[in-house]
Structures are given as structure tokens and as C-alpha cells.
Subunit: 356 residues, 2 copies
Amino acid sequence: MTEMSSGSSFAYMSADNIKGLMLALSSSIFIGTSFIIKKKGLKRAAMNNVRAGLGGYSYLWEPLWWAGMITMIVGEAANFAAYAFAPAILVTPLGALSVIVSAVLAHVILKEKLHSLGVLGCLLCIVGSTSIVLHAPAERQIQSIDDIWILATQPAFLLYSFFVVVVVLVLIYHFATIYGNTHVMVYISICSLMGSLSVMSVKALGIALKLTLQGINQLVYPQTWFFALVVVTCIVTQMNYLNKALDTFNTAVVSPIYYVMFTTLTIIASVIMFKDWSRQHPSQIITELCGFITILSGTFLLHYTKEMGQNYKPPGSYSGLNTSFPNSQLVAKQPDSDSFTKEAVPMCKFELFCAS
Amino acid sequence: MTEMSSGSSFAYMSADNIKGLMLALSSSIFIGTSFIIKKKGLKRAAMNNVRAGLGGYSYLWEPLWWAGMITMIVGEAANFAAYAFAPAILVTPLGALSVIVSAVLAHVILKEKLHSLGVLGCLLCIVGSTSIVLHAPAERQIQSIDDIWILATQPAFLLYSFFVVVVVLVLIYHFATIYGNTHVMVYISICSLMGSLSVMSVKALGIALKLTLQGINQLVYPQTWFFALVVVTCIVTQMNYLNKALDTFNTAVVSPIYYVMFTTLTIIASVIMFKDWSRQHPSQIITELCGFITILSGTFLLHYTKEMGQNYKPPGSYSGLNTSFPNSQLVAKQPDSDSFTKEAVPMCKFELFCAS
């Protein structure tokens, strides 16, 4: 019998992956905390003035709101840096941890109730993240932006990018006008598809900046500027349609669907472009997927119970609906006098700039 | 970069582990199905006669009930055989899959409603089981019952057995009489502690029988008969106190707590006796534990939603209770005219002989 015949899984936790993991974790802590600070700022501003939900802008005079905004920007920067060190397959799903940080802090600081199923949701996010972290592939060693350019111009990834662009254009110019305000999937699909490309470009740009800071200047390459252009284009499109989605539908509906689609498409894009899975054993790939499904279940539970706490109806009343979200799946958002307490925590890091 | 530097995880799936896995899976299918067949038999018997819940025994004349009983015995035999091939750490948690088989068949055949959170619970059980199966240690190669005897008489395992026996005796002769009918943990602790020893002895006996069938007669060793004696003693004690627990408390409360305690203690016993974890890398142990927590969450959700479906109260009404089961945590069982439709599916394989 071979004693300790394996022992390879931790070898996978390369120094770079550990750096990326730490950055991703601190990003989640910053972003999760920022939401609570902003919410406290909004509440304090609302005590004396017109609430944000009713169109007031008094929160702009509240230092706490700005502190939250800065915390969030620090978190986004850490997230950006994380992509320069570890594969997207490791960094992206860990975004769910910011929701846990928010949920726990909301319970402790804002005294919001946390349903026992919500606690279970948090536990599942942690367990799933642990599985992914332990079995994520090591980051490819990249020497220059040229290496990334070669990866990005392989037929498979070009085909994926072409597919994304075509589908997004069809969605924007055909479906968005007809179904945009009635079908939540239209706007979210646009955001998620663009999101998968923006993460790939953010990663390319992050690596270029890392190499430049290490003394290997990458700013002389036109490819670096091309990736910068893609990042800007993708993020502007994403933010535009995410704002539309959040304006039209409840955050509690938009957030988890967006998280699932965005993370899934990003993993697919990363697997195609960086061939993450070609360097892995099938059992590790399956374990990663199990971890991912566990995280998805956890976030689903967290949001499901958030719905239950707010306007819960007993099970019988929505027995006809087999979809995941009981009350408001495709229901357009109603004007809401207390929007900042009802809004769910934003779940994707790029989403945060949109939700006040 | 080392390509495929790992690739060891599947090496862990030894031929014996695969046999054990197949036996454990078929055991779960048989046991899960048996419950539905018995329930159909009970329903059919109740159409013409006094219901089992009201003390009738007409189900004994119903062939379907007996078919279910036989299916269950086949399942138990497969479970017993599984322990002869694969470590308890692999076989025991897979018992949760019988609950999924029951839940799905109850939905399809008995047309019982399955809450969307129940579906999520099933998914989590599958995902958690997959993680455990992929990362379970290989079974030790055992040549004779003497090898097992050596493992069972190490100081660490003797200490564990001594601890179990002392705690069980204290529980039986001191706490059971005072708190037995008010605290659900008393009877369940007795069952679970004894259960962990009975699984270890069942495993010893299973291996002895396997070796005997292979031509290496183990029946001449007194150790084989000692293990047989332990199995009988433990299972009789277990069944006795499990019946008491089921008589006193709702199955929906007893089953999941028993599953969690029984499985956890069995894994601890197996880790101490067979030193399963000494042959494993920390990342694999952590992944196993993640898988186990995922299964526990899944079974919790399945039972939680079963409660919700039956006598659900909106979240506010039990906000004072922070324990896992909202309504009936420590509430003694009420006489129930419809017990066989309300009873939850038994979750531990040794439990099945008790719940009609």
C-alpha cells in the first residue's frame, strides 16, 4: 500500500495562488464591509433628510457613505490584483464570500435577523470555497503580454469571443427592446456574457501591470492597450445593462441569477483561454465543480431566506411556481419607500458600482 | 510547470473501493425503494382495515409490505458487504443517498410534493457524496482477522471503546430514566455511540466472511466470534433505544440528529481504528470533511422542508428558537392518526428495522 501516495493537492497551492487567494479574500472582506458602512451612512443620512429611495441625494454629504465607497474601491483593487496572481476559476467564485461578510456584519452591526437557513447558506459558501481553493489549478507562468495574446488568439477562444459578441449584439438590438422589461434574463445575459470577457481582459491587464512593476515593461506592447480597451468597453456595457436590470427588477432576483451566470461564464471562458483543466486530473475538476455547486446552493439559500424574511408567503401560495425565487421572479420592481433596507447585498464585484 | 503533476486522486479509487462504492450505492437504492414499497403496502392495507398508526396489523397480510421488507433486507445485506470492501468513511455517509431515492420515488410514485429546497437538499447530498467518494482513502489490505484484531487492540482504539462503553452505561443507568423522555439527545447518543462500535465490528465480520469465502477460513479464530458477539450486542442495544427514541419523539426530529451523530462517531471510530487519515494528504482530509458537511446540510434541508410542508409556521413564530428544528425539537410525540404519511424517511440503515 502506498503511504501518502498522493500529497499533490497542496503542491497545487503555488505561492502565486496563495497570493491571489489572500487578495481575493481581503477583497471580499473589504467589499462585504463596504456595503454595511454605506448602508449605515444611508440610514444616518435618511434620519434628517429625504431618503435615497425617494430620490434624495443627502447621503453624498454623509462621510460614512464615502468611507464605504472608498472601502469598496480598495476591495475592487484587491480583486483586480487577485486576477494577476491566481486563475479566474479560483478568484471568481470566492466573490460569494463578500455576501457572507455582509450577512454576518448586517446581523452583528445592523441587528438584521439572520434566518437559520441563511446561516446554513453561509456555511455552504465556506465549504464550497474551501473545496475550490484546495483543488484549483496552479496559475500559468506568463513571461510577457505576448504569452497572453497567444492564448487569447487560439481558435477555441476566438470562437468563444465571437459567439459572445454575436449573442450580445442580438440581445441588445433585438430582444432588449421587446423583452428587456419583462424578462429578467435579457439584461443579465448581456452583463454576464460581457463580464466573462472583461474578467479575461482584466486578468491580462493585471498580469501586464504586475510584470511592468517587476521591471519588465509591458506598456510598449500594443496588446496591453488592446486589452485595456476591451476592459473599458466591456465594463461600460456591463454597468449600463446592470443598471437597467436593477432599475427594472428587484435586486434579490437580479443578484443571485447574475452571480450564477457571471461566474459560470467566467469559468468557461477561463477554461477555454487558459486551458486550466488540461493541467488537472478529472477528480480535481469534478471536486472543483462540486465546490462551485455548493457555493451556488449557499448563495441561493441566503437569498431565498432573505425573501422569506421580507415578504414571505407560506409554501402553498407559490406551489405553482417551480422556479427558484418564489415571489418576484419576473415581477417588475415596485416603487419602494424603504428601498435601501429591502435591497439585497450585491453579489458580483462589478455590480457594486451600480447599486448605491 | 508540471503537467498533470497530481493525478493521484483516482489512484485512490482502488478496485476494492469501487466494489464497496457499488455495493453502498445499490444498498441505498434498495433501502430507499423499500421504504416506498412498504408505504404503498401500508396505504393499500389501510384502505380496508385499521391503520398501522392506530395499532392495526392488517399490513402483515399485504404482499406489498413484505416485498418492501425483503427489498430492505437485500439493501442491508449490500450495506454489510460494502463495509467488507471499502472504508467506513466512504460507506457510512453514502447512506444519505437512500433518502434521496426515497424522496424522488415518493414524488414520482406517491405523488408527494417535493419543496424546491428539498430538491436543493438532494443536490447537496449528491455533490457531497461525490467529493467524499473521490477523496476517500483506499481500504487497508487485510490478510486475516488477526490483522483487524491488532488494529482493534491499539491503545487509541481501546481508549475510544472504553470511553464509549462508560458513557453509554452512564446514559443508560443514570440519564435515561430522568431525562430520556424529555431530552431527545439521551437515547440518540446511546444509539450513535453503540452504532460506531457496531459498524467497526460489522466491518471486521464482513472482512472475515469475505476472506472465508475466498478460501481462507476465518471461522477458526476466536476473534471472529468475538466480533460477532459485539455486533449482536451493539445492534440489540441500538435497536432497543432507537425504538424508545422513535416512540417518544417525532421521526422528523430523531432521524437527522441520529444520522449526524451516528455518521460522525462512525467516522471518528474508523479514523482511530483503521488510521484512515494517516495515509492521506491534509487537502484530501479537508475535502472529505467539506463533502461530509455538504451532505449534512443537504439532509438538514430535506428534513427541514418536510417539516415546512406539514405543519409549517411562518419564520416569525419560532424566532425564539435557535435550534435547527423549528417546531418539535424537544416536544414529545403526539398521538397521530396518520402516522405513516407524516413520518419522515428513516435515515440510518440500522434504523430501518425499527420504523415500520
